[in-house]
């Protein structure tokens, strides 16, 4: 059996008296798209934040590419290939679209303690950045200030930034959040093109997208994994239907 890219064991996190992550155990195999679904407040973003390092768990371990990263700072995990997108768009609004992505390339190529030379003109950084933009369909907007993009384009930019990091794992926190019908269809197409090339953890509310894309689905309710398995099995699980899917499917 192949080694899991991400292995989370008994992860637990409390906010005061509230247990928001309750003994979560979950893994992501190479090339696998593992979706995490659940109602609002189930602790999906809290889980993603612990995996990417923005929050420290109270108990449990996180193994990434065979290494224990439970207490490693955010930047260290990113350098090891853990890339994430945010539910609420997080970009550099006054930088150009290209520079947003080129910075992610720069983080992986050579030292950034280089004080001379015009970074914005470095072909070594711009070429891979353009390639990442082309993958999400933003190549034509490369020179626009990122703050001026439409909401859907900003969501695509988040993806391009994550791709430019040459990730070993993509953590996607509601990549379709707030997008219109057409935009979300375009993003689903992009995700489909990435499927298999990168292992992914996908948190998403759009059930059509989740069931179309996921290899495995874990259902999170009140911080606890209620069920985990292939889409067909999860869809048929009576517990899941009562607790969550019933309302979503109508």
């Amino acid at each position: 059996m192949a080694e899991a890219v991400l292995r989370i064991q008994n992860l637990t996190k409390n906010f005061g008296g509230l247990r928001v992550t309750d003994g979560v155990t979950l893994d992501v195999m190479p090339g696998e798209l593992h979706a995490v679904i659940g109602p609002n407040g189930a602790g999906k973003t809290t889980l993603i934040n612990q995996i990417s390092g923005l929050l420290a768990p109270d108990a449990g371990t996180i193994l990434f590419a065979g290494e224990d990263v439970t207490t490693m700072p955010v930047a260290g995990r990113a350098q090891r290939g853990l890339a994430r997108s945010f539910q609420i768009t997080s970009i550099l609004p006054r930088f150009s679209v290209l520079e947003n992505v080129a910075l992610a390339v720069q983080a992986r190529r050579g030292t950034s303690f280089r004080f001379f030379g015009h970074a914005a003109d470095e072909e070594e950084l711009n070429a891979p950045a353009m390639a990442a933009l082309a993958q999400v369909g933003l190549a034509e907007r490369a020179d626009a200030p990122a703050g001026e993009l439409s909401h859907g384009e900003k969501r695509a930019l988040e993806l391009a930034i994550a791709l430019a990091m040459e990730p070993k794992l993509l953590l996607l926190d509601e990549p379709m959040a707030g997008t219109g019908h057409d935009e979300s269809e375009r993003l689903v197409a992009v995700l489909r093109s990435l499927k298999g090339r990168f292992p992914m953890v996908l948190v998403e509310h759009d059930m059509t997208a989740v069931f179309a894309l996921a290899d495995r689905i874990s259902v999170l309710i009140y911080g606890r994994i209620l069920a985990s398995g292939p889409p067909a099995q999860v869809r048929a699980d009576p517990q899941v239907v009562t607790a969550y899917l019933g309302e979503e499917m109508e």
Binding site: A75, A78, L92, R108, T111, S112, F115, F116
Partner: protein, 330 residues
């Protein structure tokens, strides 16, 4: 549609004033030509005044590097000027006058102070950063005031200007003027190169969105610390020149009022433009000089003037020039 086109041209003209070359070339040509005009009238007075402008412009550049590009509002930046100046004063009082020793000493002292304080300050954000830099600045001020062997509160006269490899190159006012001009040009080019470099791009990114920078793999604290040390050393360079120009060193160089004046210079000129820092330093010191020649209660005029600038000249003098230019062009 028309709005989009307008904002595109806006972005272009903005680029031309901020990163274009016309304005800085004009500024430095003007500085270079001042001594020629000064030869006709009150030479010593004009030279010493404009020398002062250039010295404080270096410190203002250093501060703009922090505020304008890193959103790090330092309220203790005068401390670095004072440290650079005291390095010269103290060495001179022991008979060491050569810039080959005293300049590296000034840079090392201000750089080390920046490193030691930056490690602490940069762990805080916003108002707390302002407060803690102010606290460190005051610490340096009171330390200097208590240096009894070196004049304490009264300060210390520098009996002889620095030499360079034994040559009295700083002795002549005109030579000192051009040395300051060269130092300012060097500081300006250094800052411009820095902010455009790989390092500068990460540093600027940390101002925009530190969370995003962390999640793509940059430990922004390290970048901010390096920028803080560079800025502190530029402050030290300014202090080195100030001690030579004034032939006097005093704790007042480090007072929080001085730090406030530096902030005013940068904001007055327009933050995040570098050109603005130089223009702001010139505008501040020349206005101060002009008003204090009219009345000894010049602060009564100067205070409201600053309020007016803060209220109506968003983007500082550079911002005003920008808007005028757009109006002229229709």
């Amino acid at each position: 549609m028309a709005e989009a086109a307008l904002s595109a041209t806006e972005a272009k003209t903005r680029r031309s004033l901020i990163s274009g070359n016309a304005l800085p070339i004009a500024i430095f040509l003007l500085f270079a030509l001042v001594p020629l005009f000064a030869a006709f009238r009150a030479e010593a007075y004009v030279l010493s005044l404009v020398t002062r402008v250039m010295i404080f412009a270096i410190a203002a550049l250093a501060l703009d590097l922090l505020i304008g590009y890193g959103a790090l509002v330092s309220f203790g930046h005068a401390a670095f000027i004072g440290l650079g100046a005291y390095a010269i004063g103290i060495l001179a009082s022991h008979g060491i006058n050569d810039a080959l020793i005293s300049l590296p000493a000034a840079l090392a002292l201000s750089g080390l102070f920046a490193l030691a304080t930056g490690i602490v300050c940069l762990r805080t954000k916003g108002v707390y950063f302002i407060m803690i830099t102010l606290a460190f600045g005051q610490m340096a001020y009171f330390t200097a005031s208590s240096l009894a062997p070196y004049g304490g509160d009264d300060g210390l006269t520098v009996r002889m200007r620095s030499t360079f490899a034994g040559l009295p190159v700083f002795a002549n006012d005109r030579a000192l003027y051009y040395i300051c001009l060269l130092a300012l040009l060097g500081a300006y080019l250094l800052c411009r190169t820095l902010v455009a470099s790989r390092f500068g791009r990460v540093y600027r990114g940390a101002r925009e969105n530190p969370l995003r920078m962390g999640t793509i793999g940059f430990d922004v604290y390290r970048f901010q610390l390096v920028a803080y040390v560079i800025s502190g050393m530029l402050g030290g360079l300014s202090g080195f020149l100030l001690a030579n120009a004034a032939e006097f060193v005093s704790p007042a160089y480090m007072s929080w009022q001085r730090s406030g004046e530096l902030l005013i210079m940068v904001i007055f000129g327009g933050i995040g433009t570098l050109n603005g820092a130089i223009i702001g330093a010139a505008a501040f010191l020349l206005t101060e000089e002009w008003l204090s020649g009219i009345t000894e209660h010049w602060k009564v005029i100067f205070g409201p003037l600053l309020v007016v600038v803060a209220l109506f000249a968003r983007g500082g003098l550079i911002g005003v020039a920008e808007r005028l230019r757009r109006m002229v062009r229709g």
